[in-house]
Symmetry: C2
Subunit: 204 residues, 2 copies
Amino acid sequence: MPHFEKIEYQPIPVRELLLEMKNLSELMIDLAYSAALFNDKDLAEDVLVLESRVDTLAYLLDMEIMVAARDPKDAEALIGISIVAAATDKISDAAGDIAAIVTRNIGVHPIVGEIFEKVEERLMQATVKGNSKIVGKKVGALDLAARMGVDIIAIRRNKDWMINPDENERVFLGDVLITRGAPLGIKAFKDLAEGQPSKLEEPT
Amino acid sequence: MPHFEKIEYQPIPVRELLLEMKNLSELMIDLAYSAALFNDKDLAEDVLVLESRVDTLAYLLDMEIMVAARDPKDAEALIGISIVAAATDKISDAAGDIAAIVTRNIGVHPIVGEIFEKVEERLMQATVKGNSKIVGKKVGALDLAARMGVDIIAIRRNKDWMINPDENERVFLGDVLITRGAPLGIKAFKDLAEGQPSKLEEPT
């Protein structure tokens, strides 16, 4: 049974709301394809959580726009923002529909698998364990792109998502990292994050 | 006044239909952002043409699935395809909504422009003119990625779209090429395609 929270007006800049909606919706499509391809229920559920987050952002943005528009001229200037926000919401809904294939056990038809396979790079999620060498390190210091061809595209910490984390962001125990890269690299990174020995890991 | 064609059943493999829908819908999002950012009416109209193409593909795919499903077990196996097709259709609709900002003269609010600017690579369309050196050449022989950092992501020839054209595909007079790359590279390529002198063009 989903939990429904009252959406209260919060004075968050429209720019921030729209940027988060756009980034999340694009990430969600990638995540949803990966969830379906790998039949990954956790990832699929993350997509559904994000879908609900985008819905909330959409409500907040609509309220913000209403408050901002004082006259018909303002409304004309702001309608473009409203259209783009609604479009990102549609994209997020589409990602949620694809994720539901996994959460509702619909099964990925071979044709769907084949088409999603064409995504050259793969996504993987890894939960940072206590014995991992990356705990407390900065994203930039891990030098993942050069070492493993891997990019951390999002960090979920508790219920918050950081999309495209800054290189000064530190990795904490329990963080869920979404990485993108070639299959071998992301597998090696998952081992590293989860404190497993890995062939690609540098000697200590 | 739009022209409505009767959608007749055509025996096209589901795989082909779904792959074209997925590729087009993803391309359309990029094209729609670019159309809005550069206030490019031609590009925006292309997006709307593609939206209508995706609608047609969706109808054809739905009919194909109906014909393919002989019993409830088939239907259960095929419903995943139907969900993915509907999701790509939603994404294509979202792209169409963004394109409509341009075709309906809504104007791109600075906040929207700022957010679309964050797309690191740019898209440009160029129509191949008769005096261009690329007429008749193969896409692969142009060696665009190495020379200019430019990638041809789609060719529109008459009313047909080739997405991610093969390197053996030849460029013809009148082709509309959609390219992706850094701003300088795509500008240089546009000059080349349109038969204009360009600094980045190799000496003859």
